[in-house]
């Protein structure tokens, strides 16, 4: 299917918008989501965007796939071909993406099994509690801790009353 000549600017605008869009959606997905499962999904999208960008780097108008088929086998002309190197690179980076994704999902299963939640905020909180417990240290920034050496002054009557009837 040799591509008929179409206006290149639209194609360029489309493809690059697609690639960059995927990357940004991926990164935004990871940053915005609280659920760690969704983050892994978004990461996969970002990886896919990166791969598309790489393949676009090797594309040439009117070029044919870098595989010698039937008639090309005899003539062995490889001049009008797309650049094979980015394709080789993308092969590797797709499999890297899947490798990382598999490990991430294994960790998610374990986290869910141990902490029982998938929300990053709770996972972080539980982790910090564990770290502080293992280091036998009480975290300075946690709310229960009184600031500095002096214990917190007891709340005045009004707030105490309001607190316990809340």
């Amino acid at each position: 299917m040799n591509p008929i000549e179409m206006n290149p600017v639209a194609l360029q605008w489309l493809l690059y918008f697609g690639a960059m869009g995927l990357i940004v959606i991926g990164i935004a997905g990871v940053v915005l989501h609280q659920n760690i499962f969704r983050m892994v999904l978004a990461l996969a999208i970002a990886e896919a965007g990166g791969n598309l960008l790489l393949v676009i780097a090797g594309f040439r108008f009117g070029a044919v796939a870098p595989i010698l088929q039937d008639d090309a086998l005899q003539t062995l002309n490889t001049s009008n071909m797309v650049d094979p190197v980015p394709q080789a690179m993308v092969l590797t980076s797709i499999v890297i993406g899947v490798g990382i994704q598999a490990l991430a999902l294994a960790l998610i299963i374990r986290i869910h099994q141990r902490y029982g939640t998938l929300n990053m905020r709770e996972v972080h909180a539980c982790m910090m509690v564990d770290i502080n417990k293992s280091a036998a240290v009480d975290d300075l920034l946690s709310a229960q801790q009184p600031r500095g050496r002096r214990p917190l002054p007891s709340p005045p009557e009004s707030t105490a009353k309001r607190a316990n009837n809340e």
């Binding site: 890297i96 490990l103 991430a104 374990r110 036998a136």
Partner: protein, 493 residues
């Protein structure tokens, strides 16, 4: 000269076969790991000795710009020898033989040697990814809930870094059409525009995750305090240095005379501030050393941001010094991992460990006779040598950071040596053996300071010499005479 590839092929081969070796006989599996590391060290030392000038190896027999090439200069081979040495020291000997952790360690060894030697941009990216996945595995190795969570968060940040690095490489490829570092050097005029610099920025952020660059080091404290001490010693000591080395090699060869170095400076300074000030507040030793390693890496980045030999020399000196001191300090936290105030009076129980801590702390701060001082002085003379206001600000930040660092390290030393009532449960730090090994290395560096200094200067001069790098790669069969043909002949390629 080609035998250096064994440093990558052999550990991979043994790692692939380890499950089978383990199935056949447990004892064989137990000793194969250290054996392989020794062979790696031996082969690296041979090549290191036989090398007078840099050599480039074409992998797969295809000449560099087309095929992947390894660039063997003294810096790369120095790292190639240090990697197996340090892993031998930090090998989990007495732990119950976790087969999978050993395989991952071997893979880490192969990948680190690959990263140190590689001369191809995408090859660096693949080996960097291999190191990342191996370090995720190691971070999650001791199977506690918090280490899984820390490993996951680390994986997430590193995954995003991978995406950025990939886009960076794609941008560079679209601009220059090549992946070989030497050829990128030749075409660096094309990379010198904002587009090239933003590609470098993306790669810097991508690889910076492991080099604990300022905004991306949220994972450092979590992973180092949940992983086992040997893993965190390995990650903090060795792997972060390799990531910095990869960035510096790209910077030196492809982006030599542009203000990409300035970006390194900014990240270095921010890293120092963030690392040292957080360490000041840290309450337990592991997190304190994690934050202090961020600070130290900020200093190393600062050193490498100085263009030319002075910067490279200071950077390598700081890097090697941190490589010796930090793993030793982390080994200390194996027994002393509770809060700092529970360490009161620990010196009476284990005097050797306390004395070693004071020695390493003084060297880290930079007290004269110890090598840490000479490394920091090189860095300062490099910064002052630049004589521009940005570098003076960096110098001021470095000074303040050192004062803060002195305060929290000596605070620990004073607690160690202060009197304490209940000193029963602090057991003797059993593995002072390995730590005293590090101390011996530190003191021997002190005694042989001048020859070591001149050797490092030679390494720095060679590795910061961009023209030499390009000439080596494109004369795959280097003429025996040291001075090569002039660069114009290469431009014809």
């Amino acid at each position: 000269m080609n035998s250096i590839v064994l440093n990558i092929a052999l550990p991979l081969l043994v790692a692939f076969l380890l499950p089978l070796i383990h199935a056949s006989s447990r004892i064989a599996a137990r000793i194969t790991g250290p054996l392989v590391l020794m062979v790696m060290m031996w082969s690296a030392v041979i090549v290191f000795k036989a090398l007078e000038y840099p050599v480039s190896i074409a992998l797969g027999g295809f000449l560099p710009p087309v095929g992947v090439s390894f660039h063997l200069d003294q810096l790369a081979l120095l790292m190639a020898t240090i990697i197996p040495l340090l892993m031998l020291l930090l090998w989990p000997y007495q732990y119950e033989q976790n087969l999978r952790e050993q395989t991952v360690l071997l893979l880490l060894a192969a990948a680190s040697s690959g990263l140190a030697l590689s001369g191809d941009l995408f090859n660096i990216y693949v080996f960097y990814e291999l190191i990342s996945v191996a370090s995720f595995g190691l971070a999650a190795a001791n199977r506690q809930a918090s280490s899984f969570a820390a490993a996951f968060r680390y994986l997430l940040i590193s995954g995003l870094g991978t995406v950025l690095a990939l886009t960076g490489i794609a941008l560079i490829y679209t601009q220059t059409g090549t992946l070989n570092l030497a050829q990128l050097g030749l075409l660096s005029s094309r990379l010198d525009n904002p587009l090239g610099l933003s590609a470098f920025a993306l790669i810097l952020l991508g690889i910076g995750v492991k080099a604990e660059i300022f905004p991306l080091n949220g994972w450092v404290a979590e992973v180092y305090s949940t992983a086992s001490t040997r893993t965190s010693a390995l990650l903090a000591g060795l792997v972060s240095k390799l990531a910095v080395l990869a960035i510096v090699r790209i910077l030196v060869v492809a982006y030599d005379d542009s203000e990409a170095g300035l970006m390194l400076l900014v990240f270095g300074v921010l890293g120092i501030i963030w690392g040292e000030f957080s360490a000041w507040r840290a309450q337990d030793l592991k997190r304190m050393f994690a934050y202090s390693s961020i600070g130290q890496l900020g200093m190393i980045l600062l050193a490498f941001s100085i263009p030319g030999e002075a910067g490279m020399f200071a950077g390598i000196a700081m890097m090697l010094h941190h490589l010796v001191v930090k793993p030793a300090l982390f080994l200390l936290t194996e027994k002393w991992n509770h809060g700092t105030d529970s360490l009161r009076g620990a010196a009476r129980l284990s005097p050797l460990a306390a004395a070693l801590f004071v020695l390493f702390a003084l060297s880290l701060i930079g007290v004269p006779p110890l090598p840490g001082f000479w490394a920091k002085m090189l860095l300062m003379s490099g910064l002052v040598g630049m004589d521009t206001s940005v570098y003076y600000i960096a110098l001021a930040v470095l000074m303040i950071a050192t004062v803060v660092e002195a305060q929290y390290l000596i605070r620990i030393a004073v607690t160690l040596y202060s009197a304490s009532d209940r000193s029963s449960e602090l057991r003797l730090a059993s593995n002072t053996g390995v730590m005293s090994l590090f101390a011996v290395v530190l003191l021997s560096a002190l005694l042989t300071l001048t020859p070591l200094g001149s050797k490092l200067y030679h390494i720095a001069a060679e590795s910061s010499n961009r023209a030499l790098y390009i000439r080596t790669t494109f004369n795959v069969n280097p003429t025996p005479v040291l001075e090569h043909k002039n660069a114009t002949q290469e431009a014809s390629l």
